[in-house]
Symmetry: C2
Subunit: 588 residues, 2 copies
């Protein structure tokens, strides 16, 4: 496909070119950019609403300031597409063949205009305070600008950052891009405070930002280039902390995205081609099973409460589900620490929290998992979604949750291998009051066809699926199927009838069973869908360390991969069935 | 020693008894309590100023509310001594023989009046929102009260908690105990905001708390029982979120503690008996070496900046040092996430941050270590103090930092065994720009007497200290000395000339050296001063998993110990030299 021709953007190869445009051309540029964003994201999938909402702000920023001398830090950086187009990377939007050339986030390896790899929220102000302090130490004079959404503002690091930025005593400009939305609806006192400011054109009795010491500016129409340019010019080269509160429209320029902001925060490929399709019947999934379970308890008047930190979509917790739950649902906003602390409090008071996290984000609340929850043995049920090796962006890897959770005392971390086990584990966790329990929810639904009647209160009891000899395969959670396949291949290639074990418990060792294996096994193999370092398999290896049993651990390496195809990763980690069997043969 | 006799406290065995006192008796009670706190803490060591400052507030809380039906959550809970005295535990303050009977923090195992084990900061509001939500789900009607200091208010979880508490829509009472101090001086916009409120008797143009939606009350004299009781009575049974801002004096009742709040936040035993002693000459220590290094760089005009999150005393960073550093020093307040984010920004801008954490607190910033720092390879130097097995309270264990840090990609975590190595590592880290580096600073200074000329840019190269045979001992950091002792004992008892290795790198494997050992060793032993699960030794064991080499890992177990004597722990973990040698013999 040829590159699209766009009158104004064709002239813009760098911020310097942008500065030569007149205001009419800049408005035309914003239209061109929107068109390209819509086309590109509808092809590749990606963040939609956030990029459409920030077009004019980005143009005005590059018009007034001098990147890369002046430094922009984009929070989450899921709104950086207009910035990428202006800073030499428009090819990634004009030429469909180059659509995947650039990441969906800021990426220093692409250009000097990007300072950080960013994908988790609420970091921009902290990073910007650092850039400003570094500048001051080195005698620099550039502007440091952090751009943060209203949703991200509720995260602990952002608030800690605000507290420090306010007393920095030198140039720092914080832009709050307020579109009255987090990923889902915004939550909390900060949200109400921003609403009041918007409704009163920035003039209120108690101004949150002023109370902290910021010079405060309000822009009611964040798509008015003249006003943006005027305000940015006014604060440029300030010698003290400034905060500019801009009201923008998420999804601006594409009406369905404006009407339904949550659905268009991030879209799948070809979403726009099926806007009027009837919603297709959703089959059974771990998401649907979870929702049914929660609803049944809520409808029975039990003190269950489904909780999450601003990402209900990850778990399929759509508006309909949330509305049905009513007071049995809590979204704490982007505030994972609060989610864990609050869940611990609810559990200690006799409530029944079901707290869901995407694997990549559970690391945002380590101290609370340890202190608020584990140390207090608060019987919270945590569901960890999306854990496993994937082709994700480096900022959203989901391979670290096992090392993170499973080395904290007291937490019981479970790995179901089928829906029957999942439901049994969920129900056991819900009904017990002794342990914090986490469940690693697999991606793909499988069924054993047999009701699971396991008593999970007997901790760390593995399931002996098939007793064999010579080789023992301990296959965890979503890699249990791989364990079965490896067993079959071993039989076929070597005639070995290997033992197959479903450990179910990530956080403990079934010493009796492992001890038993010593009698007629020489090699034990562990399979886990996540990082080896600090993970499940190493604990098995340590158990056998003093014996003559050999142990091979299979999983991912300690590294940040970046959109690496999963086939490539499986080769690198020796995770194909063939490579696993070959490695086993080598030590037999 | 006999129990002290105290007229009023003798009558108080529970909050119910307290409610029978008149105001004069309550003032007398507060004097008695202060005297007991001073005596007890001067004997055992512990938190001093925080407990003296909160006496009247605690009396008034118990007078007005009905614990344990109404629920108090004390932030950090290092100010819970008056609460303990009122709730059936006065023996621990009256009888010197019982001084160690109760922990220095709230402890549910001691009484129903304590809801949580708490020792890390900034958690109380989140926990309280959970108690309140649990109450609402279960149809309860009690009051939920969180008490939090102004210092703790700058932590991310506290701010996330405030955001959520503000929209809870039911009873929650947050008491801000504002004594104008964190552990050291308070920091940031929130500090300034509180100062303005104090200076204006709670009446200011922009009220931070009101902006978030709280009903706000100010008490200018937090030691006036009548006023405290009046205000608490007024808000009792409120149906919406209330915030009471109380101005108290940290250390109240003991003048030197009022004058020097930082020194009296926490004191060592017998501190009060030596108030007028000349400060004793401090010998060389890792703290002094670190300070000298930082000062030399700052004095040379280099862009070094010593950073910490509100605990400068842990590193010996006293006022004199801070003053000398001037703009080369940053205390971000209780805000570990901000500390890491900011340090990453400084490093990316060319500054040279030296960021210090106590081991127990580094877990408060996992996501930033991973995303802001490691993913961006920001060349921050992190110093981790106090890491190791100890008899600490369950809330302040320092055994988890190796599993926490060392399973994150890109970070180089180093374990020096003597001052020469430490200085070389510090200097290497300071001068390089490729890696985030953490150094686990040992507690006790040792010297090898030989200048370390190692090039640490060659990552994961272990030091072969002495080549032997049969048994290889890999002894990490502060356990290197133990490795030497075990080697000697092995020689003596078994005539084995064991190999001794100083790995220096926690985060990687020296494959060549480990491979070499295979030729004439049958057992490898790893020694680490921290948790085995997810730690250093397991990685060595995994390396040898496919070979016939046996590996024994020695370290602490995955558990929250609570003031357990270190000798008992060494027995339990088989960490005495004798037990280690015995375990080695068993597998030889």
């Amino acid at each position: 496909m040829p590159e699209t021709t766009v009158r104004v953007l064709d002239k813009v190869n760098s911020p310097d070119d942008l500065k030569k445009l007149d205001i009419k051309e800049m408005y035309e540029l914003s239209n061109e950019m929107r068109e390209l964003i819509i086309k590109k994201v509808n092809t590749t999938g990606g963040h939609f609403g956030p990029n459409l909402g920030i077009v004019e702000t980005t143009i005005a920023l590059h018009y007034v300031f001098n990147s890369p001398v002046d430094k922009f830090v984009f929070d989450v950086s899921h709104q950086c597409y207009p910035h990428k187009m202006i800073t030499g990377r428009k090819e990634g939007f004009l030429n469909p063949e180059s659509y995947l050339k650039y990441t969906g986030y800021t990426a220093p390896e692409e250009t000097d205009h990007d300072l950080f790899k960013i994908g988790h929220t609420s970091t921009s102000i902290s990073l910007a305070t650092g850039l400003a302090k570094g500048r001051d130490l080195l005698g620099g004079r550039e502007n440091i600008i952090a751009l943060i959404g209203d949703g991200s503002l509720t995260g602990g690091e952002a608030l800690e950052g605000l507290n420090n930025a306010a007393v920095l005593g030198s140039n720092i400009i914080i832009i709050v891009n307020d579109n009255d939305m987090s990923i889902a609806e915004n939550q909390g006192g900060i949200c109400n405070m921003l609403t009041e400011l918007r409704e009163n054109n920035g003039e209120v009795e108690n101004n949150f930002f002023k109370s902290l010491g910021f010079e405060y500016h309000y822009i009611s129409d964040g798509h008015n280039l003249e006003k943006l340019i005027e305000t940015f010019s006014e604060v440029k080269d300030t010698d003290h902390p400034v905060l500019i509160h801009i009201h923008t429209i998420k999804g601006k320029g594409f009406e369905p995205a404006v009407v339904n902001k949550e659905s268009f925060h991030w879209i799948l490929p070809n979403t726009l081609d099926h806007l009027n399709d009837e919603p297709s019947e959703q089959g059974e999934s771990y998401e649907s099973l979870t929702k049914d379970y929660i609803l049944s308890k809520a409808n029975a008047g039990e003190p269950i409460v489904a909780m999450n930190a601003a990402t209900p979509g990850v778990f399929g917790w759509n508006k309909e589900f949330r509305n049905k739950l009513g007071s049995h649902y809590i979204d704490v906003g982007i505030a994972e620490q609060q989610a864990t602390g609050m869940a611990s409090g609810i559990a200690k008071r006799g409530g029944k929290p079901i707290l869901a996290f995407m694997s990549s984000f559970v690391q945002r609340t380590y101290d609370q998992l340890s202190q608020d929850m584990a140390l207090n043995n608060a019987p919270v049920t945590m569901l960890i979604f999306w854990g496993g090796i994937s082709n994700a962006d480096a900022t959203h890897l989901c391979t670290f949750d096992i090392p993170l959770i499973s080395n904290i005392p007291n937490i019981v971390y479970l790995a179901p291998t089928c829906k029957e086990e999942y439901l049994r584990m969920l129900d056991w966790s819900y009904n017990q009051n002794e342990h914090p329990v986490a469940i690693r929810v697999p991606f793909e639904l499988t069924t054993s066809g047999v009701e699971d009647k396991t008593d999970y209160s007997i901790l760390n009891k593995y399931q002996m699926v098939e007793k064999g000899e010579k080789v023992g395969i301990i296959a965890l959670g979503s890699f249990f199927r791989k364990g079965k396949e490896v067993k079959e291949l071993l039989k076929k290639e070597c005639g070995i009838n290997a033992t197959l074990i479903n450990p179910r418990f990530i956080t403990g060792i079934d010493k009796d069973m492992l001890e038993d294996l010593k009698s007629n096994h020489s090699v034990i193999v562990t399979l886990e869908d996540g990082e080896l370092d600090g993970g499940f398999g190493e604990k098995i290896t340590r158990f056998y360390g003093g014996s003559s049993i050999k142990v091979l651990n299979f999983g991912s390496h300690k590294e940040f991969t970046d959109r690496t195809p999963i086939e490539e990763l499986y080769q690198r980690y020796h995770l194909t069935n063939e490579l696993i069997v070959q490695d086993i043969k080598n030590v037999l």
